[in-house]
């Protein structure tokens, strides 16, 4: 069942397209040699080009172009061997030149597509309209002084990729899945760090609503939403607002809006009438950007394995279910971690441990896979102890928790704590005899037909053996004695 919103006049479908601004990972800015490090002191990474001093000229950074091409290839998109930079003209204090250099008419990357996975296991393809390169503006700080605004030009001139989707998205969930997938792809490629909280990925959300089967109605653009959760909330809030407008007998006007996440609503920023006339024209300081086909082919050959390909391989080689494979490949670090654990071991057990105990521990500790307290190699060793019956599954969980806390080697923990599993059938028989003797009433009930009590006997024996009894041998001994 597809997503829909109920109004007083019936069911509404929502139509969403996303424009994602992704900051390119590069040492220098798009048209200047200034550095791009996040969090540097204000105005410490500004060249005369970034500050638009008289006579300064832009020179394209080849690495930024390569990053855009890599991203385009990762989005299964057409690479345009000839593209062009235009000037987008408007006045603002954090836009030193009075224009932003962007690719308006001829972007470097054309149509592409990405596949998203939804919670119900289904997949959908979302079209990519284009990807273009452009400069970021500086930052205006209005809260530093009662009467003055401060300008930080560190970001001025940093390379952005604007990735525009087709209006193919039909639910907040799909928007979230699209953003997560896009982030996953650019992180795999190393072209954008995808950190929305640092502003290196931001989304403009185009929303409209319609009745099923209708052509598109007027859309509104919700600007600069900076988390996946807010994007999903903004879509729902904006769609509901539009439905109310239509159902109230009015018309939705095309405008730019802002999402107020504290209130969970959108509000008008500027109407179509107030829209800037950006007076785009080709930047005469730059020649058309012409790419050598062989260079593009060379970049393609060096692309890393991307999430979709990795997922397919995990399903094929490790026999994982689609959902598990998707979870494991979402982040490269997780996928790498998993592959190290799974290599030469039971891949499904490895998947369960990574997605179960490890993820839970990371969550609890507030850590990421990159700074996991348990290394992939250690977890692998733990699984080896489990596989060769040195410890039981239950003991393994305890050992794992100790590994999380102390970061020690699993074999060392097992030795130090004496957790090695008891496989001596004599010792097990003694424990079984004691338990059965102490619970004669339960034994009678069991024999009368209450077979569920078997689990109780197992538990009692394990308890008596401090959890170290080999579960298979305990079962076997109990069955023998109770039959």
């Amino acid at each position: 069942m597809s997503y829909a919103l109920e109004g007083s006049t019936g069911t509404w479908e929502i139509v969403v397209g996303l424009e994602v601004h992704a900051q390119v990972i590069s040492k220098a800015k798009l048209f200047s040699g200034a550095a791009t490090d996040f969090g540097a002191p204000p105005n410490s990474q500004v060249s005369f080009v970034d500050a638009a001093f008289p006579g300064m000229l832009p020179v394209i950074n080849r690495e930024c172009v390569a990053q855009a091409v890599r991203t385009g290839l990762g989005l299964n998109a057409r690479i345009n061997l000839v593209s062009r930079f235009d000037r987008k003209n408007y006045f603002y204090a954090d836009l030193p030149a009075g224009y932003q250099i962007s690719q308006y008419q001829y972007p470097i990357v054309g149509e592409g597509r990405i596949e998203i996975e939804l919670a119900d296991g289904s997949t959908r393809e979302i079209g990519i309209t284009r990807l273009h390169l452009e400069q970021d503006a500086g930052k205006s700080l209005h809260d530093q002084h009662p009467t003055k605004s401060y300008i930080d030009l560190n970001r001025s001139g940093v390379a952005l990729m604007e990735i525009v989707s087709e209006p193919d998205i039909r639910s907040p969930e799909e928007a979230g899945a699209y953003l997560r997938k896009l982030r996953s792809i650019v992180r795999y490629l190393g072209t954008c760090d995808g950190n929305m909280d640092e502003g290196s990925m931001r989304a403009d959300v185009n929303v409209s609503v319609r009745k099923h089967g209708e052509p598109y109605r007027t859309r509104c653009e919700v600007k600069n939403v900076n988390s996946i959760r807010f994007v999903m909330q903004a879509i729902e809030a904006e769609a509901k607002r539009q439905i109310e407008v239509w159902e109230g007998g009015s018309t939705v006007e095309q405008e730019t809006r802002l999402f107020d996440h504290a209130r969970g609503t959108t509000r008008s920023m500027r109407s179509k009438e107030d829209a800037h006339d950006y007076r785009y024209f080709p930047d005469p300081d730059l020649l058309p950007l012409v790419l050598d086909e062989a260079w593009v082919t060379g970049l393609k050959a060096k692309l890393p394995e991307l999430p979709d390909a990795k997922k397919a391989r995990f399903m094929r080689d490790f026999g994982l279910a689609a959902y598990d494979a998707s979870v494991l490949v979402a982040e490269q670090a997780t996928a790498d971690f998993y592959e190290t654990v799974a290599k030469g071991r039971d891949a499904k057990i490895a998947a369960n441990w990574v997605m179960g105990d490890l993820f839970a521990a990371l969550n609890r500790e507030g850590r990421t896979i990159a700074d996991s307290p348990v290394s992939a190699a250690s977890l692998g060793k733990l699984l080896d102890l489990l596989a060769d019956n040195t410890i039981s599954g239950r003991i393994a969980k305890d050992v794992f928790e100790t590994m999380v806390e102390m970061g020690e080697d699993p074999a060392a923990i097992v030795e130090a704590k004496g957790l090695r599993q008891v496989t001596d059938t004599g010792a097990i028989d003694v424990a079984v005899a004691q338990v059965l003797a102490a619970n004669a009433d339960k034994v009678a009930e069991y024999k009368a037909g209450r077979e569920k009590l078997f689990g109780f006997f197992v538990g009692q024996v394990m308890k008596a053996m401090a959890g170290k009894g080999n579960p298979a041998l305990v079962n076997e001994a109990l069955k023998r004695k109770l039959s």
Partner: protein, 493 residues
């Protein structure tokens, strides 16, 4: 002969022969500036102390036997070139307090080759003008006077009026200029000196305050064709900091001045005639044709059919680019600021107070032609016509090696004339603009005097990156013309 009358070529020989020092040469020019600049107003800023320090360094180098191409040669630098530590105004009030912390590539190349900078030459505001009347630092006087008319103060042309006036009056041995639609060639013609706009991309634009980026091109002024060739040899060269700078070798331009023109095919474009153009100019053109024929060149009539659209097209493209290029003068980071109640008010006050009428006119025209709804009708169409103008030249150059035409449709006019009607003023550049639109090199060489005794230039237009032929043809005209007349206002006169 006084030191200020020397050509650069002669001064180089004199410096090498220890006949005089760079300090003496520089002092002679500084004295000339002191005497005449109050009248001519050719310099906005004179950097006497720096010049003498540079001359001292040059003399020390010469003493060690080290000679670079321009060691010890005093020059004027158009105030559009950013000069490190020296105020650079672009002729505008808005940049009146601006001292660049960097040196333009072209001026840095000249310094690398040992040049001495006397100061910053006056110019039309942001290089927008053909008379030097739009400078915020006052008009520049042309050192030439009409016969029997000591009253009329003539304009030096523009926008590089200060550079041309300074070189003509012997306040500098040579000067840099920039040419967007004729800003080197027209003032060279008006002031009776030589000046070349090189091929677009020959000289770096890095550090040159931008007017219209797709047209702006630095070039030299000097009193002889050979001196221009010497200067261009230093100014030119590929610059990775300018994406439009051409990665082509710099040939020996001075050697090209000594080439024969025998056997060259010279095209005469029939469209380079305007209604009401003085007979003197037509006569001089025919004279130039005759000189080249006598020197063994073959003269061929050619057609550049889109010439008549040059001016209108230029006045769409150049203002469009300038409206965007000048957006950075907003009072926020450098230059002058007029405080306002809010950001928008600050912009409006700063720009209203900082820009003169001609700059405001062109920013408005440019904003208009780029606006939604007008862009296709004006800007896109102009670019298409520009392509046709380039095709005219390409087709002509399939048949000829260079073109010969007048530089400007008139001799220097008086301050105050042509001021009432901007269109009339724009016509000054009718013969220089097509070459600018096509990006081809063009040189104005003094060829004769008009009925009032004022200098007139002929323009030699060459193929892209074939400045050598332009220099060869220009030098042939210079030799044949053998002009001896001198401007009335000059050092030592």
């Amino acid at each position: 002969m006084s030191l200020t009358d020397l050509t650069i070529a002669a001064a180089r020989r004199g410096l090498r022969g220890r006949e005089f020092t760079s300090r003496e040469l520089t002092e002679a020019h500084l004295a000339a500036i002191e005497a005449l600049n109050p009248r001519l107003n050719a310099f906005i800023t004179v950097t006497g102390e720096r010049a003498l320090a540079q001359a001292g360094i040059a003399d020390a180098a010469i003493a060690r036997g080290e000679f670079a191409p321009l060691t010890g040669i005093p020059l004027a630098i158009k105030d559009l070139f950013c000069t490190e530590g020296v105020r650079t105004t672009a002729g505008s009030r808005i940049l009146s307090p601006f001292v660049p912390p960097y040196e333009s590539t072209v001026s840095a190349n000249l310094l690398r080759d040992g040049a001495v900078f006397l100061g910053k030459a006056n110019m039309d505001e942001f290089a927008m003008g053909s008379s030097n009347m739009t400078s915020a630092y006052g008009p520049v006087e042309n050192p030439w006077k009409r016969r029997q008319d000591n009253e009329a103060v003539l304009v030096p042309g523009g926008s590089s009026g200060g550079s041309a006036s300074a070189v003509a009056a012997r306040l500098a041995m040579g000067a840099t200029g920039t040419d967007t639609g004729g800003s080197i060639r027209q003032p060279a013609s008006f002031c009776g000196i030589a000046g070349i706009k090189p091929t677009y991309g020959r000289c770096s634009r890095w550090g040159v305050v931008a007017f219209a980026s797709s047209l702006d091109q630095p070039g030299p002024f000097a009193r002889t064709v050979e001196d221009c060739a010497i200067l261009l040899g230093s100014m030119a060269g590929h610059d990775p900091k300018d994406s439009t700078s051409a990665d082509v070798p710099v040939p020996d331009f001075a050697a090209a001045c000594r080439r024969e023109v025998k056997g060259l095919r010279i095209g005469v474009p029939r469209e380079y005639r305007l209604d009401g153009m003085p007979d003197d100019i037509e006569r001089l053109w025919q004279q130039g044709i005759a000189w080249l024929r006598d020197a063994g060149a073959e003269v061929i009539d050619v057609s550049l059919p889109h010439t008549k659209y040059g001016l209108t097209t230029y006045y769409i493209v150049a203002p469009a680019e300038c409206s965007s290029n000048l957006a950075r003068y907003d009072g926020v980071r450098f230059g002058m600021r007029e405080n306002g109640v809010d950001l928008r008010d600050l912009y409006e006050r700063t720009r209203a107070a900082g820009f003169g009428a001609e700059v405001r006119r062109r920013v408005l025209i440019g904003t208009y032609v780029l606006s939604a709804g007008y862009y296709d009708a004006y800007y896109v169409r102009a670019q298409k016509v520009r392509a046709l103008i380039l095709r005219d030249f390409t087709e002509a150059f399939a048949k000829v090696d260079a073109l010969l035409a007048p530089t400007a449709p008139s001799a220097a006019f008086a301050q105050g004339e042509n001021m009432d009607d901007p269109i009339k003023m724009y016509l000054n550049d009718a013969f220089t603009i097509p070459g600018s639109m096509a990006g081809v090199p063009g040189m104005s060489v003094p060829a004769g005097l008009d009925v009032n005794g004022l200098p007139l230039g002929l323009q030699v237009i060459g193929k892209p990156f074939d400045e050598e032929t332009v220099f060869a043809v220009s030098a042939a005209i210079e030799r044949a013309a053998g002009i001896t007349a001198l401007p009335q206002v000059r050092a030592g006169a």
